[in-house]
Symmetry: C2
Subunit: 109 residues, 2 copies
């Protein structure tokens, strides 16, 4: 495990840490039951962390719909797997936008 | 869309760009059919980008098993969604390790 993490590893770590930040207190490694992100926490996350990517992050109803669609086990809190699917659901559609931005940066360099 | 992207947005962008890097030529936004990552490209990605996180990244057979499990539509190439699930499958189990590293950094600061 020597050397610095790659950009991809850094990105994965950032996603994990972001989950922990909004899921409340950190579960220990032996603890199977983590708190998950509440609806309130989820809205806060959308608004604070993804406000460039999501146009309607401050829209309470949109956030509620997103969490309702996402909360597979209907317990009102999103687990790490549900969170990961959310980010994937965001990343897929916006990947086109990201590519366009990337290309435009190349042209302006 | 003003201001710099958040750390989370930067992380998502990194994951998207990493996919593009190994999926071969970039599809245009109108092109529904992207190339996906080949088995060879996938092994290369594991070895180059996740060598701190995966202990057996250089193990050809382990990589093949991972891509076989992952390649849902059995076309031998992994799509963006399959790639996202792979990274999620890695992030879940290692999130504990990441938390431990985070805690140990705090204690040494």
């Amino acid at each position: 495990m020597g050397g610095d993490p790659s950009e991809l590893e850094w990105a994965i770590q950032t996603l994990v840490k972001n989950y922990d930040k909004y899921a409340g207190k950190r579960g220990c490694c032996c603890c199977k039951r983590r708190r998950g992100i509440s609806k309130k926490g989820f809205r806060k996350m959308l608004s604070h962390e993804l406000n460039h990517m999501l146009t309607d992050t401050k829209n309470k109803h949109a956030a509620d719909k997103l969490i309702c669609d996402l909360d597979e086990n209907q317990d009102g809190r999103i687990s790490f797997n549900e969170y990961w699917n959310l980010i994937g659901g965001i990343a897929g559609p916006i990947s086109c936008l990201i590519r366009q931005q990337e290309e435009s940066v190349k042209f302006t360099k």
